[in-house]
């Protein structure tokens, strides 16, 4: 039995990060899939227990996501040049229907969730648990709405670029505080990022609240910011901009996924970040400046989250109210996205789509209220999200349910910290 050289008190089982590394080796999409299935199954039980039909409920949620727009085979009109023929096509191309509208809303949420998910993931790959995605998101949003609603005369491209850049920097700055504290005095990043979340929350409530410095000048009774001016808005490409159309931020988020992958897997910085994440002591021994990587990883995390805030503000929200800040939890959903997506670019993208669809499908806008009350459904989403988080952390249980721990390689980890038997 090979003990680790520096055994922590109590020969603890592997930390979350070590487990994550193990699961990367274990490979496969099995764990996240089962996790999501358990969560949805238990959510269904709650729905059943409270006297609703889970199948009809989930069907209504599915319809609310807009994803039902695909999978509707039939003859639809598509604008083939020079003809009026109806062509067999695998989705309904009638863009005025409800489904495509719902889909744009789902994709809007996906956009932000990709970014807040990446914010959590990037730090996680460096062995840090950035629970402050929410605060960094809000900070980015505050700065974006501030820049976007001032300097009306600026050239369009420049204005948008400046707003995004400053929002990213603001998010990075907030996150870097936690990174710096971790690097210099070893303050636990979970504690510091929680505190920073609430600081951002109250700063936002102050800035847009009544009498606050960034409150709108039109109606001082309403605690909301000024509107983003025309030159500060992101171009939209799908849907009616009056009704929250899909904006180019969607592609920015997809690009962010690529950037995330490239930084982590194709740069020196990414190599160092991952090395610190796998084993900070070994990384230090190998000559990597661990403290600096903590700061960089947090700052890059903050860039992603701040970018998410900017996307929402410049893309469809165009203003930020105290209430928006207080009810927003998209940064927290980012934690579930990151963990379900196993902190990989592809995983985060897919998990963001899942949660974006779930949040939109259970929203007042998306869900058919005759089937299931949306007020309940919003809370159902929270429960499913919570269950995902619970089970994604408890890989022992999930894999025991799968019943094939040995087959996918976790059984080999009997060496130092062995998780003997599931749920003993």
């Amino acid at each position: 039995m090979s003990e680790p050289v520096e055994a922590p008190p109590g020969d603890s089982a592997p930390s979350a990060v070590e487990r994550l590394a193990a699961r990367h080796r274990a490979g496969g999409i099995v764990t996240p899939l089962i996790t999501a299935m358990i969560a949805f199954f238990m959510g269904g039980l709650v729905v059943l227990a409270t006297g609703h039909n889970p199948f009809r409920t989930y069907k209504a949620v599915w319809d609310g996501t807009g994803l039902n727009w695909f999978f509707k085979f039939g003859h639809y009109h598509i604008d083939l040049p020079f003809t009026q023929h109806r062509v067999f096509f695998w989705w309904d191309t009638n863009a005025n229907a409800l489904a495509p509208y719902n889909l744009t809303q789902t994709l809007l949420l996906t956009t932000t969730l990709i970014l807040t998910g990446l914010a959590v993931s990037f730090a996680f790959r460096c062995g840090l648990f950035n629970i402050g995605g929410q605060g960094q998101y809000i900070t980015g949003a505050i700065v974006a709405v501030w820049v976007g609603s001032s300097w009306a005369g600026m050239a369009k491209g420049l204005h948008v670029f400046l707003a995004i850049l400053l929002a990213c920097l603001a998010g990075a700055a907030l996150a870097a505080v936690a990174g710096l504290l971790k690097a210099t005095v070893g303050a636990h990043e979970v504690i510091t990022t929680i505190m920073l979340n609430w600081i951002a929350y109250w700063i936002g409530s102050y800035a847009f609240g009544r009498g606050g410095p960034l409150q709108n000048k039109v109606d001082i009774a309403v605690p909301i910011s000024g509107d983003v001016v025309r030159s500060g808005k992101l171009p939209t490409f799908w849907g009616n901009p009056e009704l929250q159309a899909l904006h180019v931020g969607f592609f920015i988020a997809l690009a962010a996924l690529v950037v995330f992958w490239v930084i982590l897997n194709r740069t020196t910085l990414g190599y160092q970040v991952r090395a610190v994440g796998f084993n900070s002591e070994a990384a230090r021994y190998g000559g990597i400046n661990v403290a600096r990587n903590y700061v960089y990883a947090m700052a890059i995390s903050g860039v992603f989250a701040g970018l998410g805030g900017a996307m929402d503000i410049l893309g469809w929200q165009y203003r930020l109210g105290v209430l928006d800040i207080q009810v927003s939890n998209i940064g927290f959903i980012g934690i579930a996205v990151a963990l379900l997506g196993r902190n990989t670019a592809v995983g985060v993208g897919l998990a963001a789509l899942l949660f974006g669809a779930l949040v939109n499908g259970t929203s007042t806008r998306g869900l058919d209220p005759s089937v299931f009350p949306p007020e309940l459904a919003g809370n159902l989403t929270l429960m499913i999200q919570a269950l995902v988080l619970l089970f994604v952390g408890a890989d022992v249980l999930v894999l025991a349910i799968w019943g094939s721990r040995k087959k996918i390689g976790l059984g080999r980890r009997t060496a130092p910290p062995a998780p003997e038997g599931a749920a003993t």
Binding site: P8, P9, G10, D11, S12, A13, S15, A16, R19, T50, F129, V177, L181, V185, A187, H188, V190, I191, T192, I194, M195, L196, W198, I199, Y201, W202, I203, S205, Y206, G209, R210, G211, G212, F332, I335, L339, P373, L376, G378, N379, L380, T381, L382, M383, I384, Q385, A386, L387, L389, L390, V392, G393, A394, D395, V396, A418, P419, E420, A422, A423
Partner: protein
């Protein structure tokens, strides 16, 4: 040698003592500008504050850095606030600073934090991180209201709240202890679970109407003789039962944690579980019990908020108080009286923020960020270092 220094020398005061005096002077600088002293001349806080700063600098030059700079900071702050207070109108000052009411209000806001922070202390001292205090408080708030409503008794409300909080804590404990899941992920999950479950059942049970208005409330304790005493009457004359219980809890928690074998076991398990196991302490049992207890206490804090203070429930009504309680726990260095002092400080900042609205709505809002900023400063090690239990957050596997 100047006469002042000579006097100080004759007193045989070390620099630490002088620095503490400086801090007191800084606070006094502000205090003199407030009622009942209420000096209206800005020179009073200025002079007293400067004296405090001088003490601080003197201490710094004698090598007491941290405390000395603390005195300088407090002195400067005292001057600023004191001068501001002399500038404000007397009536406003009297509205904001009526000490008795301020103390009572501080205790009201501090009590939920005290319950949750003491609960958190049990959990974290036994080695299980509990960032789920928020969710457990919220569950206590909802199930307290539900129990009080359905059984038509506030005592049953408290009981149901404690059971509900204990159940959420058991889930956290099971995932953290047996499944060795990451405790922070698990805690976050419990927070969301509580948010979802309470929101779901709140709407399922009460619909759009909200919780009933005639909810049986936790009674206030009227102390008959105290009512007409000037300061004490306002401060302690009519406190809620739960506030007095929080004082009792504080003492009991201190005694249990530091003066009994049970407390020793809890701390041993949190510091070095392997060693504790070796001498025959069941790590799992202690951790399960501690985490469950923490959930019950946090839920009682939430129940006080809903059944005792507000008299109703609304979705996410704890609004981050669980995290402030966590902050109080850290700020108080994982000790009951420290956590209580921090809870009082944070309670006072909440109480003040409502009153400061007299001056400026927006500034009062910003004031609510104070607990978080202070905690950030505390974990950064500027005001003493807060050191968590050695094994907190590490799952333990039996051998």
């Amino acid at each position: 040698m100047s006469p002042v220094a000579a006097t100080i020398d004759r007193l045989r005061w070390g620099p630490r003592r002088v620095a503490r005096l400086g801090i007191v002077l800084g606070i006094l600088a502000f205090f003199f500008a407030l009622p009942p002293v209420e000096a209206r001349a800005p020179v009073v806080p200025l002079l007293v504050g400067l004296l405090g700063v001088a003490c601080g600098i003197w201490a710094v030059t004698r090598g007491v850095g941290r405390l000395g700079w603390g005195a300088v900071a407090v002195g400067v702050l005292g001057i600023l606030l004191g001068v501001l207070a002399t500038r404000s109108s007397g009536t406003n000052l009297h509205i904001v600073v009526s000490w008795g009411a301020l103390v009572a209000s501080t205790l009201v806001w501090a009590t939920p934090l005290t319950f949750a922070a003491i609960g958190g202390m049990f959990s974290e001292r036994s080695g299980v991180v509990n960032i789920a205090l928020e969710g457990m408080m919220l569950s206590g708030a909802f199930f307290g209201v539900l129990g009080a409503d359905k059984f038509n008794s506030w005592a049953m409300g408290l009981l149901v709240a404690a059971v509900a909080g204990g159940c959420f804590a058991l889930v956290h404990a099971f995932f953290a202890i047996h499944l060795r899941a990451d405790q922070i992920v698990g805690g976050t999950a419990i927070n969301f679970l509580a948010l979802g479950v309470t929101g779901y059942f709140f709407i399922q049970v009460y619909g759009d109407v909200g919780s009933p208005g005639n909810l049986p409330r936790i009674p206030n304790v009227n102390i008959p003789g105290l009512k007409n005493v000037t300061f004490l009457g306002d401060a302690f004359g009519q406190l809620n039962l739960m506030i007095w219980l929080s004082f009792v809890l504080l003492i009991v928690a201190y005694v249990v944690m530091f003066k009994t074998p049970i407390g020793l076991r809890i701390r041993a398990v949190g510091e070095h579980p392997r060693a504790a196991e070796t001498v025959g302490i069941s790590v799992y049992l202690i951790r399960y019990a501690s985490v469950t207890l923490s959930g019950m206490l946090a839920a009682l804090g939430g129940a006080y908020l809903a059944v005792g203070f507000v008299g109703s429930f609304n979705e996410n009504m704890t609004a981050g108080r669980g995290f402030i309680a966590l902050a109080a726990l850290i700020f108080g260095n994982w000790r009951p009286f420290g956590a209580f002092a921090a809870a009082l400080l944070f309670g006072a900042s909440t109480a003040l923020s409502f009153r400061l609205a007299t001056y400026s709505d927006s500034a009062a809002v910003l004031f609510q960020a104070l607990p978080y900023v202070l905690t950030l400063i505390a974990v950064a090690g500027v005001i003493g270092r807060s050191v968590p239990p050695a094994s907190v957050g590490r799952p333990y596997s039996k051998q």
